[in-house]
C-alpha cells in the first residue's frame, strides 16, 4: 500500500538500536509473521481464482467449524481487496475533485448522493452485472461481493481525502508552488501526509462497516436464485437456514477474533504511523504500540530498507522529474463559455437520466404503487427517527460519562470500536429467535435490529465530543457551580452538539442501509416481515422485479438525500457556526 511507504523510511531512520548484524527474537517474529501472511494470502487467493464452477453449480457451505479458518481468510482477503480498491478510488476521485474546479462541481454532489444511497439496495443490480461479466466462474460473485464492500468504504474515505486536500493551510500550498515542487513531490511530501490521518481513521471506521456488507453480500438471493460465496457471511446464512445455533456461535467467535487481529496488526500500527503526520506543530506524547515497537526493534526491515532505499530514491526522483511543473508556463485561464457549456451538458445528462428512470418505473408499475412505496418509506423513516431518539437518550449520557473520564475513555474506546466493527447481522439470528418466541412483530423488532449496527456511531462520536471539551471549560463549570440541567444546557450540550450531529448522520445512514436486511428476516423456514421500504426492496430483489427495485432504491435515496439536505445539513452548519470549540 502506498500509505506505508514514507512512514517505513522514517522507522528505519529512527531505529538505530544496537548493531544491525545479529538476528534477534523480534526479527524472527517479524520474519515469520510476514511469511505466514504472504502464504495465506497466496493460497486463499489462488483458491478463488482456480476453482471454476459452471454457472449453475453453486459452492456449498459446510457447517463444520474446522472449515471456519478458511472461510474467515477468504472473507478477510475480500475485505482487504475492497479496501485497496477504495484507497485507489479515493486518490483518483478525491484528487480530481479537489484540483479541478469543474470536476468539483459534479463530483462532490455526486459523492454526497452516493454516500447517502443504500448500498445494499444496489446489490441485486451489481450481482447480476458481475455474474454476466465473469460468465462461468466464481469471480463474478467475488467481484460483486468486493464491490459491495468497496461501496461501503469508498465514499467516506474519498470525502475525508477531499476535505484534507481542501483544508491544507494556504501558506503550505503557496510554499510548494513557489518552491516548484513537482506534482509527485507535492503529493508525497504534502498532500498524502496531510490527509493520512483522516484517511486511516475513516478507513478504519469504514472497514468495520464493510463487514456488514460482506456478510450481506456473500449470500444473496437475486432473481429467484440463491448465490453463495464461501466465506464467513455465507456460513452464518447457511447456519440460519439450517437452524444451527452451535455453528452461529462458532462464527461469532471467529468474527470477534478476526476483528481483534486486524485491529492489532493492521489498524493500530497504521494509527501510530498516521499520528506522526499531524499538521499541527505542537509536540505531544508519541503514541506507542507493541506491533510498531516490535517492528522497530527488528533489524530485518532495516536490512530491507538498505537494499531497497536507493531504488526507492531513484524511483522517487524519476517520478518527480516526470511530473515537474513547467517553469513560467502560461497559467490556464478558465473560460466563461467553457463553464457554461460544461454546466449545460452536465445538467442535460442528469435530467435525462432521471427522466429515463421515472419512465422505466412508471411503465412497470402504476402511480398507485409509487404512492404505496412512498408510504412504506415514511414507515421506515419513522423507525429511523425513533431509533435515533432512543439511541440518543440511551447513549448520550453514557458517552459523556465515558468521554469526561480520561481513564474510562482510554479503556472503553477500543471496546466500543470493536462493537462498531462487529457486523450486526451476525447477531440477527438471536434477535429473530427471540422475536419468534415472544411473538414480537417485526414492525417493532426491526428497529432493534437496525439499532444493533447503527447506535455505535452515535456513542463513538459522543465520546469523542465529550473528550474534546477543554479542561478550562470543565474547571470553569465546576468553579461556577454549574451542575445538572444547567451544566448540560450551557456546557455539555453545546460542546458535543457538533460530534453528535456527525454521529447521527452516520447512524441514520447506517440504519437506512440496515433496514433492507432488518425488515425481512428468517430463521429456518420461518420468515418475519415488517412494513417498510427496506422489506419492499428486499422482496423486489429476491423476485427480480426490476421496476420495483429501481423504484424502491430510488425512493430510499430520495428519502436519505432529502433528510440530509433538509435536516442534517442545516444542523451541521449550525454546529460549525455556533458550537465550534476552539
Amino acid at each position: 500500500m502506498k500509505i506505508m511507504r514514507a512512514p517505513q523510511l522514517n522507522f528505519f531512520r529512527r531505529a538505530g538500536i544496537e548493531g544491525p548484524s545479529s538476528l534477534r527474537l523480534a526479527d524472527l517474529a517479524v520474519g515469520f509473521g510476514t511469511l505466514a501472511l504472504l502464504y495465506v494470502a497466496a493460497r486463499v487467493g489462488a483458491e478463488s481464482l482456480v476453482r471454476f464452477s459452471p454457472p449453475d453449480v453453486i459452492p456449498t457451505i459446510s457447517l463444520d467449524p474446522r472449515n471456519l479458518p478458511n472461510y474467515a481468510a477468504r472473507s478477510t482477503l475480500r475485505m482487504f481487496i475492497g479496501l485497496g480498491l477504495s484507497t485507489l478510488f479515493t486518490f483518483v476521485y478525491g484528487y480530481a475533485a479537489a484540483r479541478s474546479r469543474r470536476a468539483e462541481r459534479i463530483l462532490v454532489p455526486l459523492l454526497d448522493i452516493l454516500q447517502s444511497v443504500p448500498v445494499l439496495g444496489f446489490l441485486s443490480v451489481t450481482v447480476t452485472l458481475f455474474i454476466a461479466m465473469f460468465r462461468g466462474s466464481l469471480l463474478g460473485l467475488e467481484a460483486a461481493s468486493i464491490f459491495a464492500i468497496f461501496t461501503g468504504q469508498a465514499w467516506n474515505m474519498t470525502f475525508s481525502f477531499y476535505q484534507s486536500l481542501r483544508t491544507i493551510p494556504a501558506e503550505l500550498d503557496e510554499m510548494t508552488t513557489l518552491y516548484q515542487l513537482s506534482r509527485w513531490q507535492r503529493f508525497t511530501r504534502l498532500e498524502l501526509p496531510a490527509s493520512v490521518m483522516g484517511l486511516v481513521w475513516n478507513g478504519m471506521m469504514s472497514f468495520g462497516g464493510g463487514w456488514f456488507f460482506l456478510a450481506a453480500s456473500e449470500s444473496i438471493s437475486v432473481l429467484n436464485r440463491q448465490y453463495t460465496l464461501p466465506g464467513l457471511g455465507s456460513y452464518v446464512a447457511t447456519a440460519i437456514a439450517a437452524k444451527d445455533m452451535h455453528a452461529i456461535w462458532w462464527a461469532i467467535g471467529t468474527m470477534v477474533t478476526l476483528v481483534l487481529l486486524i485491529d492489532q496488526f493492521f489498524w493500530k500500527p497504521l494509527v501510530v504511523i498516521a499520528d506522526r503526520y499531524k499538521l499541527e506543530l505542537s509536540a505531544g506524547e508519541e503514541r506507542r504500540f507493541w506491533v510498531v515497537d516490535l517492528w522497530r526493534a527488528a533489524s530485518l526491515p532495516e536490512h530491507f530498507a538498505r537494499i531497497a532505499g536507493p531504488l526507492m530514491q531513484a524511483i522517487d526522483r524519476r517520478l518527480s522529474a516526470l511530473t515537474r511543473v513547467a517553469e513560467q508556463a502560461e497559467p490556464k485561464q478558465p473560460s466563461k463559455t467553457g463553464d457554461v457549456v460544461f454546466n449545460v451538458i452536465a445538467g442535460l445528462v442528469t435530467v435525462s437520466l432521471v427522466v429515463a428512470a421515472v419512465r422505466f418505473v412508471l411503465s412497470g408499475v402504476g402511480l398507485k404503487e409509487v404512492g404505496h412505496a412512498a408510504l412504506l418509506g415514511l414507515a421506515t423513516s419513522a423507525r429511523v427517527v425513533a431509533l435515533l431518539i432512543f439511541s440518543t437518550i440511551v447513549w448520550t449520557p453514557i458517552g459523556v460519562a465515558i468521554g469526561m473520564n480520561l481513564k474510562l475513555a482510554r479503556l472503553s474506546q477500543p471496546v466500543v470500536q470493536i462493537f462498531a466493527s462487529f457486523p450486526a447481522n451476525f447477531l440477527f439470528p438471536f434477535a429473530t429467535l427471540w422475536f419468534i418466541k415472544l411473538g414480537v412483530s417485526l414492525n417493532w423488532g426491526s428497529m432493534l435490529l437496525m439499532a444493533l449496527g447503527a447506535q455505535w456511531y452515535l456513542l463513538f462520536n459522543v465520546i469523542g465530543g465529550a473528550q474534546a471539551i477543554p479542561n478550562d471549560l470543565r474547571e470553569m463549570a465546576a468553579s461556577l457551580g454549574l451542575r445538572g440541567f444547567r451544566k448540560w444546557k450551557f456546557l455539555i450540550g453545546p460542546a458535543i452538539f457538533g460530534t453528535w450531529v456527525t454521529g447521527a448522520i452516520t447512524a441514520s445512514g447506517g440504519a437506512w442501509n440496515a433496514s433492507i436486511v432488518s425488515e425481512l428476516v428468517s430463521w429456518g423456514n420461518t420468515t418475519l416481515k415488517a412494513k417498510g421500504l427496506g422489506a419492499y426492496i428486499a422482496e423486489a430483489t429476491t423476485m427480480g422485479d426490476w421496476p420495483r427495485i429501481v423504484l424502491g432504491v430510488g425512493l430510499m435515496s430520495v428519502f436519505v438525500v432529502a433528510a440530509n439536505r433538509l435536516v442534517w445539513r442545516p444542523l451541521y452548519d449550525l454546529a460549525q457556526r455556533r458550537y465550534q470549540l476552539s
Partner: protein, 435 residues
C-alpha cells in the same frame, strides 16, 4: 536607480469577488520597483493588501490588471527568482529540518549530495548546526522560523520575500532573529540580492529597510515612501531612529497626511544630544579662536594643536549649540555672545554660560524647572536618566547626564552629589559672594 529592476509591478490592481456578489478592490493601481541591493519594506495596516501585493510579485496570485516584470520580462506563474519566508513558517512537520531546508533544491532536481551540502551551509548561517535531524515540532518557534529562512537561503533567490516573518514569534525571539537577519545583510554575505519584507511593525521596517513603502487601506494603494537614511547597524534608541518612528507613526495614524521623507530639522527631537565635552573645553576653544581673530579653519586649528579633528568637534558642536559660535564653510566663527564669553571675567562668564544654557539647551531648562517645583529642591539621577532613556540608549543617556551635570555646575544652576546620586538646586548668592 539601477538599469534593470529585479522585480517591478506596473499599475497592478487586484479585485476579489465578494460572496454576496460584487467585487472588492484589494489593490488599486500599484507600481513598485525592486532594484538589486536594496531592502524594501511594505508597511501597512491589515487590509492594506500588502500581502496580496507580495503574492502577486511572487507569482502566486494573478493581478486583475497591470503587469509584473522580472528583470524586464513579464512574469507568468510562480516566480522562480524569489524565495519566501512565511508568517506561519510553512514547514512540513513530517520532514526533518534538513529535509525541509533541501525541499526547494530537490524540486529543482539538484543531486542529493549537492542539495545536502547547500542545506547544511544554510542551516549553519542561521545557527541551526546540529539540528539537521530534528523534526520541526521538536524546535521552538524561533528555531522553526530559522528553518524557514534556511529553506529560502538555499535557493539563492534574487529577491527574498518575507511575509510578516517575525509576527508569530514572541517579542524577544522576534527581536533576536530580526537582529541576526539584519546583521547578515550588513555583512554583505546575504544569499539574496534584495529583500522585500511585508510588515505592520514600524520599528521592524526602519531596522531592516532602505526604503519603506507605505500602503493605504480600502482600497490598498501606495501612499508614498520614506527613505531610511540611517547608518547600519541601526540603533533603535538613536534620536534619528526615534524621530523616524514618530514621523511614520503620524503618517500611519493620519490617512490624509502626505508620505514623504523625514525633514532633517524634524530629527532634532525634544532634547537634542549634548556633545560630550566639558565646559572648560568650550571656553578653552573659544578663547583660542578669539585670540586668532574670531575665525579659524578647523583642520588647520586641529593640526596646530596636534589634535585629531574628531577630538575638536565636540567642543565646536557644543559652542554652536550654546550660540557661542557658528560653522561657516569649515570655519568656526565666533559670535557676539562667544566673544563676550571669551573675554569676560570669571563671574561674568558663569552668568553668560547660564543664560545661553537656559536659552539654548531645553533639557537644562527642564531640570531647573523640576528642581524649583520640588519642595526639597532635589531630584534623583535615576529619574533624569529615565527621561533621557526615552531618547538615548542606556550608555548614551549616562554620558548625556554627565555632560549635563558638568555644564549645569559651570552655569551654577545645580549641584550634583555623586554619593547620593542626587541633583540639587545651587544657591547662586553664596558662590557669587565668594567670587
Amino acid at each position: 536607480m539601477e538599469a534593470v529592476n529585479l522585480l517591478s509591478a506596473e499599475h497592478v490592481s487586484k479585485t476579489f469577488p465578494l460572496p454576496g456578489g460584487g467585487e472588492q478592490t484589494v489593490l488599486e493601481d500599484v507600481s513598485l520597483n525592486i532594484a538589486p541591493g536594496e531592502v524594501v519594506a511594505l508597511l501597512g495596516r491589515s487590509g492594506s493588501g500588502k500581502s496580496t501585493l507580495l503574492r502577486i510579485l511572487a507569482g502566486l496570485i494573478e493581478a486583475s490588471e497591470g503587469n509584473v516584470l522580472r528583470k524586464g520580462m513579464p512574469l507568468k506563474g510562480p516566480n522562480p527568482d524569489v524565495a519566501m519566508v512565511f508568517q506561519s513558517f510553512a514547514l512540513l512537520p513530517w520532514l526533518t529540518v534538513q529535509e525541509n531546508a533541501e525541499l526547494g533544491l530537490t524540486a529543482r532536481g539538484v543531486p542529493k549530495e549537492a542539495a545536502e551540502k547547500e542545506a547544511l551551509h544554510a542551516l549553519g548561517m542561521v545557527g541551526l548546526e546540529g539540528f539537521e535531524g530534528a523534526y520541526p515540532k521538536e524546535l521552538s518557534g524561533g528555531m522553526r522560523q530559522r528553518v524557514g529562512f534556511a529553506r529560502a537561503f538555499v535557493m539563492k533567490p534574487d529577491v527574498l520575500m518575507m511575509d510578516e516573518p517575525f509576527s508569530a514569534l514572541d517579542v524577544l525571539t522576534a527581536e533576536n532573529l530580526r537582529g541576526e537577519i539584519g546583521d547578515l545583510w550588513e555583512k554583505g554575505s546575504f544569499p539574496s540580492k534584495s529583500i522585500l519584507v511585508v510588515t505592520h511593525n514600524i520599528e521592524e521596517a526602519i531596522l531592516l529597510a532602505d526604503r519603506i513603502v507605505v500602503l493605504g487601506t480600502n482600497p490598498g494603494l501606495i501612499r508614498g515612501e520614506v527613505r531610511v537614511e540611517i547608518q547600519r547597524p541601526r540603533d533603535k534608541n538613536a534620536p534619528r531612529f526615534r524621530s523616524l518612528i514618530d514621523h511614520i507613526y503620524r503618517v500611519m495614524t493620519n490617512p490624509q497626511a502626505p508620505v514623504e521623507d523625514l525633514p532633517a530639522s524634524a530629527s532634532s527631537n525634544r532634547f537634542p544630544m549634548l556633545p560630550h565635552t566639558r565646559s572648560g573645553g568650550i571656553s578653552g576653544l573659544l578663547e583660542i579662536i578669539h585670540d586668532r581673530g574670531g575665525r579659524e579653519d578647523l583642520p588647520k586649528l586641529a593640526g596646530e594643536l596636534r589634535l585629531e579633528i574628531d577630538d575638536l568637534l565636540p567642543a565646536v558642536d557644543a559652542s554652536a549649540m550654546l550660540g557661542f559660535a557658528s560653522i561657516d564653510h569649515g570655519d568656526v566663527v565666533i559670535s557676539d555672545a562667544g566673544k563676550e564669553f571669551a573675554t569676560a571675567g570669571v563671574h561674568r562668564s558663569h552668568e553668560i554660560f547660564r543664560e545661553q544654557l537656559l536659552q539654548k539647551v531645553p533639557i537644562a531648562a527642564v531640570v531647573v524647572g523640576m528642581l524649583e517645583q520640588k519642595r526639597d529642591g532635589r531630584i534623583g539621577k535615576e529619574f533624569l536618566l529615565d527621561i533621557l532613556d526615552e531618547h538615548f540608549s542606556d550608555a548614551e543617556a549616562e554620558r548625556q547626564f554627565e555632560t549635563l551635570v558638568d555644564w549645569g555646575r559651570y552655569a551654577q544652576l545645580f549641584e550634583y552629589d555623586s554619593d547620593e546620586e542626587r541633583l540639587y538646586r545651587a544657591e547662586p548668592e553664596e558662590p557669587a559672594g565668594q567670587e
